[in-house]
């Protein structure tokens, strides 16, 4: 018991203190994108953990509290959505157009490229729900027969890629609409993308949250229903 407690305390202390440190560097550097705490802190922790005599298992166990806070974070998305509700209602058609085409493009392209690359069942099952936010993707992929490590890998790598490349792609392709930018970031990089679009403004941020939540809902409803349908046929 006392070992678990010490372990939890150490994991939380190590994660939080490196985060605060990374956040300071990020703010001091005037928000240089490549100094985002996500990269610096991950690297720091990766180097630091062996010195604290922590292995994967004990760190994962010790940092459970953060996964609870990730869930309350998703619940908290109700607040930006509520604040922007009139805006969302006014633009509902535009939002639907964006989410349906983005989601379709994502699902079709990932399955197509996966088959081209010769991915097998388990990997495809972990790949399909990757546009949903992590907790949603994990539960859907589990029901499809995907594996947790692969799902985490796919969700996080796509989110990181979109977070880094997304703003440049949107600028480069001259996509200026606030709705388009927010939605694109929210659908492709989930919570990280929604967070990024708040840096552009409240409206983009709200669209980012809407993109992320709606995609998560669609993934968790459509994919299991599709599987049921296939099972009946």
């Amino acid at each position: 018991m006392s070992i678990t407690f010490g372990n939890t305390l150490l994991s939380i202390a190590a994660t939080t203190s490196t985060y605060l440190f990374g956040l300071r560097i990020y703010r001091k550097s005037n928000h240089k994108p490549w100094l985002n705490p996500l990269y610096t802190v991950t690297l720091l922790l990766f180097l630091l953990l062996p010195f604290l005599h922590m292995d994967v298992k004990s760190y994962e166990k010790g940092s459970k509290i953060f996964s609870l806070l990730l869930q309350t974070g998703i619940v908290s998305l109700a607040i930006p959505i509520y604040k922007q509700f009139p805006l969302i209602k006014k633009n509902i058609k535009k939002i639907t157009v964006g989410i349906v085409s983005g989601g379709m493009a994502g699902a079709v392209s990932s399955v197509a490229f996966a088959f081209l690359m010769g991915f097998k069942g388990e990997a495809v099952a972990s790949l399909l729900p990757k546009t949903a936010t992590l907790p949603v993707a994990l539960s859907v992929s589990g029901s499809l027969g995907g594996t947790a490590p692969l799902t985490i890998l796919f969700v996080l790598i796509s989110a990181l890629f979109s977070l880094i490349v997304g703003p440049h792609v949107l600028d480069g392709c001259n996509i200026r609409s606030k709705t388009a930018r927010g939605l694109a970031m929210g659908i492709s990089a989930q919570a990280l993308g929604a967070n990024r679009s708040f840096q552009w403004g409240e409206e983009e941020g709200a669209m980012g949250s809407v993109g992320m939540t709606t995609t998560a809902i669609l993934v968790s409803v459509i994919i299991p229903m599709g599987m049921l349908l296939i099972a009946y046929l």
Binding site: T72, V108, L156, V165, S188, I217
Partner: protein, 120 residues
């Protein structure tokens, strides 16, 4: 601080309610998403006041990056468990992410342009 903790309790209650709903009805939606809906419904119906939850929710959202650090670190530490070629993964994921970004971006832009033309 006490106020934030009280507000956080409301968010936590919404999460717990979502989890209970999800497990009772065997819903494919995870508890956190259902909790988000419940809280949104509560706010829209006026049962929950914005000021009751705003502070806790804002700080939770502002530090979302922190919460992604443990899974990302776990991913790097667990590298051995993933039996798949990395370059293929990167290729598939980056191409499909580009498709999502461009699919969403262009479709909304096109929609806005068409609407503007119709209005003129």
């Amino acid at each position: 601080m006490l106020r934030i903790i009280g507000q956080f309790m409301i968010v936590l209650t919404a999460l717990a309610a979502g989890n209970i709903l999800s497990s009772i009805f065997h819903l494919p939606l995870p508890g956190s998403m259902l909790g988000m809906f419940l809280l949104l419904l509560g706010l829209l119906a006026g049962m929950v006041k914005l000021s009751w939850v705003e502070g806790a929710a804002d700080s939770n959202l502002r530090h979302m990056t922190l919460l992604f650090i443990p899974p990302v670190v776990g991913l790097f530490l667990n590298w051995g468990a993933v039996h798949i070629q990395l370059w293929k993964v990167l290729l598939v994921l980056s191409l499909s992410s580009l498709c999502i970004l461009l699919g969403t971006g262009y479709s909304v832009e096109l929609y806005e342009k068409r609407k503007r033309r119709r209005n003129e």
